[in-house]
Amino acid sequence: MKELIEKLSSKYELQEVVYQRDNLVFAAISKENAIEAVTYLRDYEGYTHLVMMSCVDWIEDGKYQLLYLLHNPKLKNDIGIKVYIDRENPEMVSAHHLWKSVWTYQREMHESFGIVFPGSPRLEENFVVEGWDETPFMRRDFDTHEYAEKTYFPRGNRKTNDPAEYMRKKLYPNQPVTAKQRKDDK
Amino acid sequence: MNIYAKLAYTILGFLIVLNWGFLMGATMRKIGARMAGRHGIPFKQPWINLFKSISTRTVITHGIMYYIGPVFRLTGGIGLFLFMPMVFTGSPDGPWTNFSFEGDLILIMYFNVFGMLGMALGAGEGGHPYAAMGITRGLAQHAAVELPLTLAFLSIAIQFDTFSIYKIVEAQQGGIMHWVLFTNPFAAAAIILAMLGALGHSPFNLVKAPNEILIGPATEYEGTYLGFMMSAGATLHVMEAVLFMNLVFGGATSWLELIVKSFLIYFWSVFVGMVFPRFKIEQSVTWFFKVPLLLGVLAVIIFMF
């Protein structure tokens, strides 16, 4: 993996290189170079399989982190390319020409985070929810509990019981609580 | 015999056939359930289903042909009954011979297809794509079943030199060795195999099996229409069993004999259905075009020369 990272860093500016395991490494690349790097990895280094694409909302830094996880079937190792994009104006270069499965990942991210991938096919179609016109629901500033209370007629009087404690009270009401049980409850 | 007396006998006979059809259906489902180790439905279930279907409050319609579909199917069942001698009593004018006449075998072959065509028209007007698919499959399989059946019927007609079912039954009286089963074994074998498709039990029930993606022609039917179709189904099952009984198994001389024989004939298809899983439509069509068709052709050729 070391050689690969050296090769990559000679071409692109790498940040936050993390050697997670012997066969897994993460590296962050700037938004402009990321797709180029992914293409290079696919075409010249044998990372032909896209394991997944994911998105993380770093609301404190005002950034979204996209991850392209690639797999090399010959060497049996993986590399994750991280890209940070601006949270206010989330736009990323589309990678739909590299793998067809990227279409679906980008559609999902567009729906759940509102990230725009210009040129990606079927981007505006529904993915999991239909007729959604609120803030994209996977953003951390969207309060799902508040939205559910506002929209779905909550019944109220929800009570939560710790199962172990509840059953103990119900089955053995007279037995004193042991120290171990008290510790377990905590 | 007086025409009014005959009419009364016919109506009584139809009621017996209808109720026997319901009971036989329930019994067969019960047998299937016992095979799987379940209790199964109660014996009264078909009657309850009928009453429930009739008591449905909102029934929608798609047009006139949609109405006529189940009516055609029931007409097919009643037509089979009207022109079929049920119980052999020694005279062609006996009480249970209904309105059978010389050449009724041809009419009955026609009525066999009648119900299917009615359903095709009704389901077509229903407009559901699954209904259209179901009816296409049903007609394809029906054509494949009809071919060996018709050949076997022809062979029996040539053998006895008549198209009258009554005369065919009459010729088979006088002992088990006079049955077509033994005098014309190829036609009998073709009928026994093609019968599985005609009665529409398990290996060949893709058309109307409720747990397929399409229930077939009945997709859009509800309420009273469905009640009609259930009655038609019960009648048709008994009448087809009676037809094969008359042609191959020597007819019946009493209602008890009819009930036992039709039960055994219907049970044969259930027995096969319990053992074999469901065929796809292309599999069942090719199956009917192989052995049963060959047997039918052989049966005709033997009696031609």
Partner: protein, 240 residues
């Protein structure tokens, strides 16, 4: 209620639904479903509104039970022959297949599965219900012939269960369609489901399972609730 009032109410409802679509931030109607004007071959101009022209928009009517001995007998027949629609909406639908196995065997109670809504009169809402599924559930429910019964399986249909704070899962089913029997639990065992069937039979025999009429009576209320959360309402208001 007179004919005229009903007509007024219907047109009001249509106006409301159109306003609803406008209130929404996005427009979800497909272009081919939009209201438009077409020129006929003879030159006259026809107004076309596909969502309302191609389907029945008649409101459901309340059908009074006949009463007396006849109704009692029919109720008995309905109770002894419950046909369940094979439509699993959530994780609870995994509890339905065991019912046909020898261990539970629902056939002995007269309960059977049917594949089409036209032939079934009971509907098991099995577990959590997302808005997307609710849309299909409403369409299916409205296609079932009356009298029809709803069994709500699992705590998700009662108060949202463990999905009470989800952005896409409804909390209370009875705000959208009337429910006859609730079966509590997460998940209820098949025995509980069988008990639900027995309870439903009891209700039908007593003549208390008339929720289809309740749906017809409070139709506007139910429709308003449904339209509040189904924002891409691209189907007719009522269709049998």
């Amino acid at each position: 209620m007179s004919e005229l009032d009903l007509n007024n109410k219907t047109s009001e409802m249509l106006a409301n639904s159109e306003a609803n679509v406008k209130n929404s931030k996005k427009n979800f109607t497909r272009p081919e479903d939009e209201k438009r004007e077409v020129v006929a071959p003879d030159g006259s101009i026809i107004e076309v509104n596909p969502l309302y022209d191609y389907f029945s928009n008649e409101k459901p009517k309340e059908e009074k039970p006949r009463g007396g001995v006849v109704e009692k007998f029919l109720n008995w027949a309905r109770a002894e022959s419950i046909w369940v629609l094979g439509f699993g909406t959530g994780c609870g639908s995994i509890e339905i297949p065991p019912l046909v196995t020898p261990r539970f065997d629902m056939f002995r109670y007269g309960v059977q599965m049917r594949p089409t809504p036209r032939q079934s009169n009971a509907f098991i809402i099995s577990g959590y219900l997302s808005v997307k599924t609710l849309k299909r559930v409403i369409r299916t429910y409205e296609q079932m012939p009356s009298p029809k019964y709803i069994l709500a399986l699992g705590s998700c249909t009662i108060n949202g269960g463990m999905y009470y704070d989800s952005y896409s899962t409804i909390n209370r089913l009875d705000k959208y369609i009337p429910v006859d029997v609730y079966i509590a639990g997460c998940m209820p065992r098949p025995e509980a489901l069988l008990h639900g069937f027995v309870k439903l039979k009891q209700l039908i025999k007593e003549g208390k399972a008339e929720k289809a009429n309740e749906y017809a009576r409070n139709f506007d209320e139910y429709k308003a609730n449904q339209k509040k959360i189904i924002k891409d309402w691209n189907m007719p208001d009522y269709n049998w």
